[in-house]
């Protein structure tokens, strides 16, 4: 059988399995809270694997090995440092956010910020900034289109359509349950590829005479070897200072809506430890996929675009069936991020804008069964519409995708890191401080990075070209501004602060509490 035939076989099996999981998730979904958060349903290790898969995304398998192919070992600073930033950020807030979010019945990150600060303005600002996640979704769809093209020989556009149809099919039915279980399975696939690629690097697979990592290093051009740490002409690795900012920028990565909402699905605060342990160890492991890019360069694999190095190398080194299996696993990685993004974007409309803002402004009861049913419907229709919009937007492979992607990620991290982290650790944080910090930090990110990227003015190197460094600076400023400006706002009511910050009860810790919002408790599962 040809690679394409094997690819189709694995893809059909994979698709059928994902849809089956979606249908299983549908059985567990009764209320909009089940659909949006799968609250209190999963153990730490399942959710940890799932979280790792969402964090890793298509870039871990395509973009980052592509960087390593182009720039050599120094590109490894990105995948070795970014997981440390992300998982330290997660470690800092996961348990506090789980505890407070359950108590406040929050369903999304913007919703949580609105509840935490009792501020409709902050909820709306965070929701609007979060809509930029659609660019992230677009980049994942474009990446899956390329994968279909390279491995299965399917034209790019059809590849994009097939990917979105698969994701929408299981997300519309199973919601957060389908998102989490499929991501955990996809996480296992990703781990398997990473272990294979690390092994291939360690034995210098494909290099004549073998010889291990030193042989791989020796086969590279001098400027790509591992004793070269920085390159002033490459904005991402131009200096040590910029490499440090790469780490800092990722501390707030968890503030993105498709990640921060995952903690609510933990079965009790006591599962946080297992969650952090599993997600961070697996997340650090998959980062080493960049070694595939280095190895591909060392053995002289030719590619049209650096991003295609991992699939191209599989085709060169492995028998057809194995290359096809690995390619489908990479698709799994891309899809696992896309589904979480779809979910989060649709919930901005269903929960943040409709349920928590519109219904409240009209004096309705946000927890009434009727509002809940409507929110569930909006969530499902939202997934379909978001999928259609994102698909149409990437029908022609977008040239500016990397820039647009960081409008979303950088803007969200810059804007929400301060309000989220400070509000979870400091009882003195106020709505005024958080809201103004969210706006000002986004403005700073825009001024130093997005303005130059959109061509409004030249800007200052490396900030104008390096989204990580700009996000790092803007998010640190966001934290500082939330603290300083909170002095000028009205303190939150003492009973609310106590409710948010009090230690977990035994039931909250063990996950034995019925955490469905009041008014929906009588609705059966």
């Amino acid at each position: 059988m040809s690679v394409a035939a094997w690819g189709w076989t694995f893809l059909i099996a994979f698709g059928a399995f994902m849809v089956w999981i979606g249908l299983r998730g549908m059985i567990k979904t009764v209320t909009s809270d089940d659909y949006a958060t799968a609250r209190g349903s999963y153990r730490g290790w399942t959710l940890g694997l799932s979280y790792m898969a969402v964090v890793a995304s298509g870039s871990t398998f395509m973009g980052i090995p592509g960087l390593a192919y182009a720039y050599g070992f120094k590109a490894g600073y990105y995948p070795m440092l970014y997981p440390i930033g992300i998982y330290i950020g997660t470690m800092l807030i996961a348990r506090r956010m789980k505890r407070a979010g359950d108590r406040l019945s929050s369903q999304t990150v913007p919703d949580f910020l609105g509840d935490l600060y009792r501020s409709t303005a902050l909820r709306i600002i965070a929701a609007l900034v979060s809509i930029f996640l659609i660019y992230y979704l677009m980049s994942q769809l474009a990446a899956s289109g390329q994968m279909f093209d390279v491995i299965l020989g399917v034209p790019y556009r059809w590849g994009v359509v097939m990917a979105i149809v698969l994701v929408v099919a299981y997300m519309i039915t199973g919601g957060a349950h389908a998102d989490i279980i499929t991501d955990a399975v996809q996480g296992l696939f990703m781990l398997a590829i990473a272990v294979f690629v690390i092994g291939a690097f360690l034995v210098a697979m494909g290099i004549e005479g073998g010889g291990g990592p030193a042989a791989v290093n020796a086969a590279l051009d001098p400027e790509l070897r591992w004793d070269v740490h920085t390159d002033p002409s490459v904005a991402t690795f131009s200096s040590w200072w910029v490499i440090l900012l790469l780490f800092i920028a990722h501390l707030g990565f968890v503030a993105q809506p498709h990640l921060g909402n995952k903690f609510f699905a933990l079965r009790g605060g006591g599962q946080t430890r297992q969650f952090i342990l599993f997600s961070s160890l697996t997340g650090l492991t998959v980062g080493f996929l960049f070694l595939g890019g280095v190895l591909g360069r060392a053995i002289g694999v030719e590619v049209e675009a650096p991003d295609q190095i991992i699939p191209a190398m599989f085709l060169q080194l492995l028998p057809g069936w194995a290359a096809a299996a690995l390619a489908v696993a990479i698709l799994a990685a891309i899809i696992s991020t896309a589904d979480g993004l779809l979910m989060s974007i649709s919930q901005i409309f269903a929960n943040d804008i409709y349920r928590k803002t519109w219904v409240r402004l009209r004096g309705g009861d946000v927890n009434s069964p009727e509002v809940d049913r409507r929110a569930l419907l909006i969530g499902r229709v939202g997934i379909l519409l978001t999928g259609v919009v994102a698909t149409l937007a990437v029908m022609n492979p977008p040239e500016l995708l990397a820039i647009l992607l960081w409008v979303g990620i950088g803007g969200i991290i810059s804007s929400l890191t301060g309000p989220l982290f400070v509000g979870l650790f400091w009882k003195g944080a106020t709505a005024f401080g958080a809201t103004s910090a969210a706006v000002l930090a986004f403005a700073v990110y825009f001024a130093i990075h997005l303005g130059p990227q959109f061509g409004f003015y030249e800007g200052v190197y490396p900030w104008n070209e390096n989204p990580f460094a700009s996000t790092g600076v803007a998010s640190m400023l966001g934290v500082l501004l939330t603290v300083v400006l909170s002095r000028f706002g009205t303190p939150l009511p003492a009973d609310h602060v106590e409710h948010v910050h009090a230690e977990e009860s035994d039931d909250e810790w063990d996950g034995t509490l019925d955490q469905r919002p009041e008014g929906l408790a009588e609705v059966g599962r």
């Binding site: 070992f73 600073y77 070795m80 440390i84 470690m91 004793d227 035994d506």
Partner: protein, 39 residues
């Protein structure tokens, strides 16, 4: 020192942070447990 050594040392440092956090978090959780009252 090469890129791989710096990267792996950073990850080892993360390991230390993780170990510290795990021990710190455990103590707080035990502190929050409800006392069992004998009937």
């Amino acid at each position: 020192m090469n890129v791989m050594v710096v990267g792996l040392l950073s990850i080892a440092l993360y390991g230390v942070v993780l170990a510290l956090w795990l021990s710190f978090d455990k103590r707080r959780s035990l502190g929050a447990k409800r006392e069992v009252v004998e009937p």
